[in-house]
């Protein structure tokens, strides 16, 4: 079965960011396909590379990056939501004249159309939020 997953909350503040990660892992373990993971609202904060949680805590952002690498996941961060919240890739940083960017490995920034297209293509669309 082909899934699109939408994540609306950032890491640590709301468990929905954890649950989504666990759900995606479990779906992959069962042989399902994750067509796309779309990060919206504060969910875009899952894609920062500057997070350094305590070493005995889970590393949500890194786990997404690793999972993406292992399973070639398409992790899409909404550009409009990301701009409001300060998540930026290298090309956007250049365009904005910023000297830093903070997007983690395995994530890409794109538009809301990717969410709708994901909903059209997938057999199931699941929303995780607050």
């Amino acid at each position: 079965m082909k899934y699109t997953v939408m994540i609306n909350e950032g890491p640590y503040q709301h468990q929905s960011a954890d649950t989504a990660l666990q759900f995606v892992r479990a779906a992959l373990a069962k042989g399902h396909e994750i067509y796309r993971v779309f990060f919206y609202h504060d969910g875009v904060n899952n894609g920062t590379c500057l997070s350094v949680p305590p070493s005995d805590d889970r590393q949500i952002q890194k786990e997404w990056s690793e999972l993406a690498k292992e399973h070639e996941l398409d992790l899409v961060i909404c550009i409009a939501a990301a701009q409001r919240r300060g998540i930026m890739d290298e090309s956007e940083a250049k365009r904005q004249g910023m000297d830093a960017h903070n997007i983690a490995d395995g994530f890409r920034i794109s538009g809301l159309g990717q969410l709708i297209e994901g909903g059209i293509q997938a057999d199931r669309t699941i929303v995780f939020g607050d």
Binding site: S16, Q22, K30, T125
Partner: protein
Amino acid sequence: MAMLHIVNKSPFERVAFESCLGHASEGDSILMIEDATVGAVDGTVFSDLLKAAMADKAVYVLGGDLAARGMSEDRIIDGIKVVDYAGFVDLTADNEKTQSWL
């Protein structure tokens, strides 16, 4: 065309769970995750409402979330099925569509 309703809010804190029960159709399934899992416990101010919904809907609870909040499985309402994340995935596959009550 059955639907899986996913609830993650405590029924004691927000109206989302009650709203879910008011909008789920006969034959639908309801899965409690995260803070909503405390709603599975019997003998609460919410349990009668949930039992009434179970007359024509299947109700599930994510076991890991229930345990995290210190509620053991022997306290939950008879007939609620405990699932893990794999069971969560199965529920989304077995139902044609899902709706999250945020």
